[in-house]
């Protein structure tokens, strides 16, 4: 099936998300859409999938124009989509999820899940997915959930499969497996649209690359192009993908975590017996796939997790069991993983957000009153210093772009003398320029002599910022390794393999000449780059 998009334009109010985009997906091809967060890739695919109506333009299937009013029609035409946020119902079984919307029924509308199970098994066998049709989706690892999404599309006889940022939630090993699945699908004559901003994967898998920037197609690229070329095309200017940082000058150890255990409300140990130290002037990066206890770890340090045991000391003073106010008062700066949820009050102004933790202290407060003049002045100074692009400090923070919002959070957290700096997913959803800025600030804080803890699920970021890397898996510490550790080894550790075994595994992996090795090799070329 040949799929063509002609002059697709999608406007949301005054915002043009897609501007006259042309795209041709040939049968049996892997076509990559490369672009930064917010470039309009997902919008384009949602238009194609019938979730949004295009403002202008048309879609052609095998040369004939078609209009998809809803996803059902797109599916009927042979288009399947695996969304970035999986469209699976957690409390349903795999079979129920696959059947939904495409049910096989017996008399009187009674469900025939047996038939669906049969289909799942058939596809599962054909492609070597290991999926149990009766498992509850919420019990499955993310990688398997993604396969369920692919099965959903295949059961509906999809000829074109759209994968929207499919690797964002996967470990490096799971990513390799996914790429292998994509190759298999391609061999079966399916077309794949692979949306990503990760150069390594794009280079490893694609036949054609279309680069999108600010809603426009800026050109086609060849998979053999160098990462820097691709990154430059994506960002629109020459980018330096490397981060200059001096070697760490680690001082005395001031931050100590001992036997930290966090129990969730169901009694599960989400952080399990964790012990580590951070010295002054070094960055410890916490690596791991999302949902392996990172959130709970940072929240436990901040003091917002209710069931904690163990000990956390900063400068010899115990922080565990103290109020958040006390912890902040001890000199902890904290950038939460979700800035819109925990970092900022969207409807408050920039000035107000800049003093969310200092509102009751001099010079911002006098008695019960707040001094608006001082607050505005403070904000103006910070906006200047952190290069926050805003028309005014009295603009609501929610109106800013992600990068600028993150700068506001950083400005607030770094404005106090810190004894410990924690940043969780500091660059999630940011453009390349902002990422550069945030990274420089983090390193500056380190060089200032502050112990820094970075939590990131982006392996590139971890490797770039860290002086040492701690890998978490299911709330446990797999090991702490130097920043020079190879990607393959880190990937294995992220899947729970202990450091010693991971090292052996990683070298074997590299020797075997499999796809993973190819990917790793690309990684080697890219050693100094990051997007």
């Amino acid at each position: 099936m040949k799929l063509e998009l002609k002059g697709i334009t999608k406007r949301f109010g005054s915002l043009v998300a897609n501007d006259h985009i042309d795209l041709v997906v040939e049968p049996g091809q892997v076509h990559c859409l490369l672009g930064e967060n917010g470039a309009g890739k997902s919008t384009l695919m949602n238009v194609l999938y019938g979730l949004y109506d295009p403002t202008e333009g048309e879609i052609l299937v095998d040369g004939k124009p078609v209009v998809f009013k809803d996803p059902g029609e797109a599916m009927a035409a042979g288009i399947g989509m695996v969304h970035q946020h999986f469209m699976l119902i957690p409390v349903f079984s795999v079979a129920e999820n696959v059947a939904l919307g495409n049910e096989t029924t017996k008399a009187a509308g009674l469900l025939n899940l047996g038939a669906t199970r049969e289909k799942i098994r058939r596809i599962s066998d054909q492609y070597g997915f290991d999926v149990d049709p009766d498992a509850m989706v919420e019990d499955l690892p993310v990688g398997v959930q993604q396969r369920v999404e692919i099965i959903k599309a295949l059961v509906r006889d999809a000829e074109v499969l759209i994968l929207d940022e499919p690797t964002a939630v996967l470990t490096p090993q799971e990513t390799d497996e996914l790429l292998e699945i994509i190759r298999q699908l391609k061999r079966d004559g399916k077309s794949i649209v692979f949306i990503s901003h990760k150069l390594r994967e794009v280079k490893a898998i694609s036949d054609t690359i279309t680069v999108i920037r600010r809603g426009k197609v800026v050109g086609q690229a060849d998979p053999t192009a160098s990462p820097t070329e691709l990154a430059s095309a994506m960002v629109g200017r020459t980018v330096s993908l490397s981060l200059d940082k001096a070697p760490a000058r680690a001082g005395e150890v001031t931050f100590k975590v001992r036997n930290l255990t966090v129990t969730d409300h169901n009694g599960q140990h989400v952080v399990d017996d964790l012990s580590f130290d951070i010295a002054k002037g070094e960055v410890l990066a916490i690596a791991g796939v999302q949902g392996n206890g990172q959130t709970e770890l940072t929240e436990a340090i901040l003091g917002v997790q209710p069931h904690v045991a163990g000990s956390i000391t900063l400068d010899g003073k115990e922080l565990l069991g103290k109020s958040v106010k006390h912890v902040l008062g001890a000199g902890v700066g904290f950038v939460p993983e979700d800035r819109t949820l925990d970092g900022l009050v969207g409807t408050f102004t920039i000035s107000e957000n800049m003093i969310l933790d200092l509102y009751d202290k001099a010079p911002f407060a006098r008695g019960v009153g707040m001094k608006s003049g001082v607050i505005a002045e403070n904000a103006a100074r910070k906006v200047e210093e952190f290069d926050v692009r805003t028309p005014s400090v009295s603009a609501a923070v929610g109106t800013l772009s992600g990068g600028n919002q993150q700068k506001v959070v950083l400005a607030r957290e770094l404005s106090r003398p810190l004894r410990l700096f924690i940043a969780s997913q500091p660059t999630r959803g940011l453009d390349v320029g902002s990422i550069e800025f945030v990274h420089k600030r983090v390193i500056a804080e380190r060089d200032h002599g502050t112990p820094v803890m970075i939590v990131s699920t982006e392996l590139d970021e971890v490797m770039q910022l860290a002086d040492r890397i701690a890998v978490l898996y299911r709330g446990r510490l797999v090991g702490i390794v130097p920043a020079t550790t190879s990607r393959d080894m880190l990937g294995l550790m992220m899947a729970g393999v202990p450091a010693a075994e991971a090292e052996a595994g990683a070298s074997a992996h590299a020797d075997s000449g499999t796809t993973a090795a190819a990917v790793a090799e690309t990684a080697g070329h890219e050693g100094e780059t990051h997007v």
């Binding site: 059902g72 599916m75 469209m87 699976l88 409390v91 059947a99 049910e103 599960q268 999302q290």
Partner: protein, 506 residues
């Protein structure tokens, strides 16, 4: 990314296959974990109740005996024949279920969740039938002795629970079940023995049948809630739907002179209330809870106004609907205790049983139900497979309204034969509680409604025979039970994930 984040715990699959216990017990918990996990809630709660039970049933026990009447058949021969048949059927059922239970255990497979409950139910029926066959008309028990026995069992169960907690183990479900049954029996004996008569007694059959009767509007109300909330719309307007259903049934049945037309009009009236709810909350995205509350107040005011102006002035022309008589199913209706409950109901009562079964099968075993549940759990996922989310919600809310309307007709066509002001008396809210207690499952909602109906009926029965507890206090029973049930169990049940959240495309 929250949708994909793994939360290994807290599973309450709202699907038909298993809710609650099955999955949470099936999860393996490492011993190290378990020691810290087990909370003292169960132990302490049971302990307090056991102490209360000991004081009431033991120290405050009455010296009189307590009597429970079994058979009040109109035709002893039919009754005895029916009892024999029931005995045979129940015996067969118990044997079959027991065999399945044991064979599944022996094969080391997990026992199907419904088997223990069904076996116990069959055993109870068997016992009742045996009493009927033996011609026992009344059981009289010494309240003091049994009260003390009950107290000791309660204390022992609470102690066992505390012991297990100390050992770092969870209290198994059967301990709680045993505790509940013994507490209830002890309570009944104590309260009956406290009656005014020298030999006080109550009719068990009457108590049960009355409980089911009082539960009818609750069951319809909670089913309405299940239908709406499974699709993701919170229906607080059940109270209003019941009330308008009752009003409309009374007026239409009187004017048309046909109670069946009244019944249909009740369904239409309930659906009308739902139409407003659906329009305002689904189409115009107004907060569903606020719309529901406003509708309730509106309908209460409207019906009160019409009642005090039109209906009180022309009762003969407008408020004399006549009644839906109870229909006996021959022979079966004569089975002691169970007969009147299942086979001597009004049309509305039979409709209730049909509705429970149809909605249960519909929600959990049909294409329609799969889609409805998907819409209530993850509307965007439903949308991406081509399901029209808002239309599904609209239709479900309308159906829910119609169901609640039929429940409302019970007040004016079955219970009494005239409408009176605010006659639903807050049962719409109790129905909502029953729905939560029943974990958004039609059968759970039905059982929870029965429990509340039982409390309601017990209260009035006790008031009649006279009791050691002031009747005003007893009148609190159904409501207190509601609070305890919902507060105690609400943490363990999980509503549909998108419940109450309007769906906006894109």
């Amino acid at each position: 990314m929250s949708a994909t984040t793994q939360s290994p715990a807290g599973k309450q699959p709202g699907t038909g296959k298993g809710t609650g216990h099955a999955s949470s017990d099936g999860r393996t918990v490492t011993p190290a974990n378990a020691t810290e996990l087990v909370s003292w809630k169960t132990g302490i709660g049971l302990g307090l109740l056991a102490v209360l039970g000991t004081v009431l049933f033991g120290f405050l026990a009455n010296t009189k005996s307590a009597g429970f009447r079994i058979a009040e058949a109109r035709d002893p021969n039919a009754s005895s024949a029916a009892a024999w048949v029931t005995l045979a059927v129940a015996l067969a059922a118990v044997t079959y279920l027991g065999y399945r239970w044991i064979s599944q255990r022996r094969k080391g497979r997990a026992v199907d969740r419904w088997i223990p409950a069904a076996t116990i139910a069959a055993a109870v029926v068997l016992g009742l039938a045996a009493l009927g066959v033996a011609g026992v008309e009344k059981i009289t028990v010494p309240s003091m002795a049994l009260g003390w026995i009950a107290a000791i069992v309660l204390l022992a169960a609470a102690g066992y629970s505390c012991f297990l907690t100390l050992q770092g183990r969870r209290t198994p479900g059967w301990v709680g079940g045993l505790f509940a049954v013994v507490f209830l029996v002890g309570f009944m004996i104590w309260i009956v023995a406290g009656g005014r008569d020298p030999e006080p007694s109550i009719s068990l059959g009457g108590l049960m049948a009355g409980a089911v009767t009082l539960a009818v509007p609750l069951v319809f109300g909670s089913l309405s809630g299940v239908l709406c909330e499974r699709a993701g719309v919170v229906n607080i307007a059940i109270e209003g739907q019941l009330l308008l259903g009752a009003f409309s049934a009374a007026v239409v049945a009187t004017v048309s002179g046909n109670v069946y037309v009244g019944l249909i009009s009740a369904a239409v009236a309930g659906a009308l209330v739902s139409l407003v709810l659906a329009l305002v909350s689904i189409k115009y995205l107004v907060n569903q809870i606020i719309v529901g509350v406003v509708l309730n107040v509106l309908i209460s005011g409207l019906t009160s106004f019409l009642f005090s102006t039109l209906l009180t002035e022309n009762p003969e022309q407008l408020n004399k609907p006549g009644r839906l008589q109870a229909i006996d199913i021959p022979f079966l209706a004569d089975i002691p205790i169970i007969g009147p409950i299942l086979f001597r109901q009004s049309l509305v009562g039979y409709l209730m049983y049909v509705a429970v079964i149809v909605i249960y099968v519909g929600l959990f075993h049909t294409k329609w139900g799969l889609r409805v549940r998907a819409v209530g759990e993850h509307p965007q996922a439903a949308d991406t497979v081509g399901i029209n989310v808002n239309r599904t919600r609209f239709v479900n809310v309308l159906m829910g309204g119609a169901i609640a309307g039929i429940g409302g007709s019970f007040f004016t066509l079955v219970s009494v034969d005239a409408f009176s002001k605010d006659m639903s008396g807050g049962r719409g809210y109790i129905a909502l509680a029953a729905m939560i207690f029943g974990r958004w499952n039609p059968i759970g909602a039905f059982l929870a409604s029965l429990l509340f109906g039982f409390a309601d009926n017990l209260q009035s029965t006790i008031t009649i025979i006279g009791s050691p507890v002031p009747s005003q206090f007893m009148a609190m029973l159904p409501y207190a039970l509601t609070v305890i049930a919902v507060a105690g169990l609400v943490g363990r049940s999980r509503p549909p994930a998108a419940d109450g959240i309007p769906y906006v495309k894109g």
